[in-house]
């Protein structure tokens, strides 16, 4: 038996051998783009469809249109009414979901291989022949309006959407939540849904992503058969006014009786696809992107203010922001804000080499586990599509991360973290937190109503 010396940390054995799944791509006869990863270890398939039709396309007085369209799209299609359609998917044991984000409407399907053709048939029926009935519309609209009402109860959601409203400013489409507001949803008619569908579901800027147990020939045949009659038109896109940062402002949304405060601190940031993307990944890893980051260790493991605190760069197709999020006991609201702001100042003074080494090691070594499930692979391909990343993006990822120097990370901090041009937003009980916030001397504490 080997003598054990517990004080010595074991070293890794030989380097692992990981090969990326191969991404194949082709176009259907009607030009629809398809990306495919063949994975035959289990008899299942994942299919994601990305429609360039998110809430950023909502007309100003009809915010919530894209979301409501996504809710309506599977309320009956082809020969099936809403309940029958749901039964069809359920009978196959297939999971079909639709959802809207600011940039896109996503449709996804998870199915056993034996039911792939039948599920795909249903899937294409949904996207090509949705009923968009008045009765279904009325019901789903009422559901959204009540959902909007319910959001008033959720302090974390209030904080997330009010934060985006504040940093993007009301003229930027990313400032609105996908759900919309009571007034704007009330403005939407079933006719609007049909127009939105006609406009955006018939364009050529869809992409279809398939991962799982099939072959490229089988897939081509199936898809061509089902989607052939669907002749997409030329795409459109919108231009979005750029907004700029301004001097730090502190906002408070009052929530009577709250026992915690939701805190959001951050600002607009540079968009995805830029040269410093990899530096920003490592920078955020050090600052607040994982458990052992500066912000979490300080607020949770050192001060005990919170169950967790984190930061991230949040990328949209035509915009981006940096955000620190946490929720803390009301009595620690002022202190927590102060610590976060200090951390933002401090990272601008530079990170240490050992922090960068850690960030690189964890990011590089974790890479293979991002390709475990069909869903994970499909969502990686989705990001690649949305942000128009190069074909060899995943192949070069590790090398790009490895090549980043400490100097580059420190430059990224100076160019991307702005404690003096931030929005500080608190959702909490003003009676407990107002004076704490005033005492921070970060400026006038503005109480706002939201939504």
């Amino acid at each position: 038996m080997e003598q054990i010396n517990r004080s010595v940390k074991p070293s890794p054995t030989n380097e692992i051998d990981f090969s990326l799944p191969e991404i194949q791509s082709f176009s259907l006869d009607n030009k629809l783009k398809v990306f495919f990863v063949q994975k035959n270890d289990l008899p299942i398939l994942q299919l994601n469809m990305i429609v360039n039709a998110g809430s950023k396309f909502d007309p100003d007085d009809k915010k919530g249109l894209a979301n409501l369209t996504s809710m309506l799209i599977d309320e009956g299609a082809g020969n099936y009414n809403a309940l029958e359609l749901s039964d069809e998917f359920d009978t196959l044991g297939s999971n079909f979901n639709v959802g809207a984000s600011q940039d896109n409407i996503f449709l996804s399907l998870q199915t056993l291989k034996e039911y792939f053709e039948r599920s795909l048939d249903l899937f294409s029926t949904v996207i090509t022949k949705p009923h968009l009935n008045q009765t279904d519309f009325d019901r789903e609209k009422r559901k959204v309006l009540i959902k909007i009402l319910q959001l008033k109860d959720e302090p974390d959601q209030i904080a997330d959407s009010a934060y985006e409203y504040l940093i993007f400013g009301k003229d930027n489409p990313y400032s609105s939540s996908t759900l919309g507001e009571e007034k704007s949803v009330n403005n939407i008619s079933n006719e609007d849904i049909k127009l939105f569908y006609d406009l955006y579901f018939k364009l050529d800027n869809f992409a279809l992503i398939v991962v799982g147990d099939s072959s490229i020939n089988e897939l081509k045949e199936n898809l061509n058969l089902l989607l052939a009659k669907w002749q997409p038109k030329k795409t459109i896109d919108i231009s979005i006014n750029k907004t700029v940062r301004s001097k730090t402002q502190i906002f408070l949304i009052h929530k009577e009786g709250a026992v915690q405060s939701e805190i959001r601190i951050g600002h607009l940031s540079s968009e995805r696809n830029e040269d410093d993307y990899y530096s920003k990944i490592l920078l955020n890893n050090i600052l607040g992107g994982q458990f052992s980051s500066r912000i979490n260790l300080n607020l949770r493991e050192n001060k005990g203010y919170t169950y967790g605190a984190s930061s991230r760069f949040n990328y949209y197709k035509n915009g981006a922001h940096f955000i620190v999020s946490t929720s803390v006991g009301s009595e620690n609201t002022g202190n927590a804000v102060k610590e976060i702001v200090n951390e933002l100042h401090s990272i601008r003074k530079g990170a240490e080499q050992k922090e960068l080494d850690f960030a690189k090691s964890s990011t590089i070594r974790r890479f293979p586990s991002n390709f475990e499930t069909n869903k994970q692979i499909a969502s990686n391909l989705t990001a690649k599509y949305i942000f128009s990343l190069p074909d060899d993006y995943f192949n070069n990822y590790i090398e790009k991360i490895r090549s980043i120097s400490l100097e580059e990370v420190n430059q990224a901090a100076e160019k991307n973290i702005f404690p003096e041009e931030s929005i500080i937003l608190i959702v909490g009980d003003k009676n407990k937190v107002f004076s704490q916030l005033e005492n921070l001397n970060l400026g006038e504490v503005k109480q706002i109503n939201y939504p």
Binding site: K9, L42, P43, I44, D90, N95, G304
Partner: protein, 420 residues
């Protein structure tokens, strides 16, 4: 179903630690998953939440692992890690590139055998603060967040091990002493009270040696009596009402039901799916889709080692009262009793369940955790196919006998009402 036949090897160390291997070389990853057979059910009143607090302390370093380094070492290796606590058990799990397996075995064994020398008052105070905030964030500051706590404290008899929430009551969380934590460790955290699963890509012979090396010298010190399972009953239904700052009224109904893997457990799972699992499920269709008196409805069978509960929750649309939801729910249960569920409904549910078994095989950590779960509840890690068979065996008559047996008995009703 051959695909659900998960190969494994199981053995025991001299100190009682159970070890389960499952090899899968699809990816160069390995998952380590440990279950300690202790959960909040082993606590006593006045010290609730200790099992969960203890879970936090397990991440605070051990004799040879400085504070913060447990996380750091695993993250540096590209690994992910976490733990969780339920009524019945506490689990800890990591997934790392396979070449870092020994690191994980070192870390897990150090905290299994040598946690106490590194335990300090400072660490405890810090994690008491963290857990207090966890409670505030996940329960106290959430709309309807205290409903579960209210239900179980009334559904179960006082002193029943399931009558308090796993997170613990706030006063209790604040009251733990170092001594409480030490005693808890000494009583429950020993190799004979744990099982270790290694799943994924690894060499079995080498790993057996490594496990002997790291875990073999940990002494078995545990000394406690097993809790006995029993299905408590209510003499009569209990009505509760709570005013809260919420927009919509919400109704909760809770019955006693069967324990995990008991005869009726799977039947009740299928019933819950037939009631609320899809758009065309009985209650969703009736309350949400057609009558539009509810914004949402959910039904689930929540079962543990000792017993289970069957829960129905529905949120009323504005202007609708719980009373109406309740009437419709009971009417639907009566309707099923009279007319039985259809073959089509059964097929839908069973196919959904079958698919979800297969979908879950994509994830090595979920296989590892499931091996431990089957081993804990049934003493047979490879129970996947048999588990699915439990669902295949469900029929309309069994559903009806379960409605009769459980859902015609007294229950707890909780209404949360908007305070304004």
């Amino acid at each position: 179903m051959e695909i659900l036949n998960i190969d494994y090897e199981k053995y025991k160390l001299k100190n009682g630690l159970e070890v389960i291997f499952h090899k899968d070389d699809t990816l160069p990853l390995v998952s380590v998953n440990i279950w300690y057979k202790v959960g909040s059910a082993n606590e006593r009143k006045g010290k609730t939440g200790l099992a969960h607090l203890f879970e936090h302390m397990m991440f605070q370093g051990s004799e040879n692992v400085p504070k913060e380094m447990h996380f750091r070492f695993i993250q540096e290796a590209g690994g992910t890690l976490n733990g969780s606590t339920t009524y019945d058990r506490t689990n800890y799990y990591e997934k790392v590139p396979s070449n870092f397996l020994e690191l994980i075995l070192w870390l897990e064994s150090d905290r299994m055998g040598y946690l106490l020398p590194a335990l300090t008052q400072e660490k405890l105070n810090n994690q008491k603060d963290v857990v207090s905030n966890e409670r505030l964030e996940r329960y106290d500051n959430q709309p309807y967040g205290l409903a579960w706590e209210l239900i179980i404290t009334h559904l179960f008899p006082e002193d029943h091990p399931y009558s308090w929430p796993t997170i613990g009551f706030m006063d209790d969380i604040k009251s733990y002493s170092l001594d409480n934590v030490r005693k808890f460790f000494e009583t429950y955290y020993s190799p004979a009270n744990a099982s270790l699963v290694v799943a994924g890509s690894f060499d079995a012979d080498q790993t057996r040696d490594l496990i002997e090396k790291y875990f073999g010298d940990i002494k078995d010190s545990h000394s406690f009596t097993q809790l006995k399972n029993s299905i408590p009953g209510l003499k009569e239904s209990i009505y509760l009402e709570k005013k809260e700052d919420v927009q919509l009224e919400r109704l909760h109904l809770a019955w006693h039901s069967d324990y995990a893997y008991g005869r009726d457990d799977a039947v009740l799972d299928v019933l819950s799916d037939i009631l609320s699992g899809s758009k065309n499920s009985r209650l969703y269709k009736n309350l949400v889709f057609e009558k539009e008196i509810a914004q949402d409805v959910s039904v689930f069978q929540y079962s543990g080692k000792l017993t289970g509960s069957f829960i129905i929750i529905a949120t009323a649309k504005p202007g609708i009262k719980s009373e109406q939801l309740k009437e419709e729910i009971f009417k639907e249960l009566d309707n099923i009793k009279k007319n039985k569920i259809t073959e089509k409904e059964l097929t839908k549910s069973k196919n959904g369940i079958k698919s979800s078994f297969i979908y879950s095989l994509q994830n090595i950590d979920s296989i590892a955790d499931q091996l431990n779960s089957y081993n804990y509840f049934l003493n047979e890690p490879n129970y996947f196919a048999k588990d699915l068979q439990r669902y295949e065996n469900v029929n309309a008559d069994l559903i009806n006998s379960c409605i009769e047996k459980y859902l015609t008995k007294p229950y707890v009703e909780l209404r949360i009402l908007p305070s304004k």
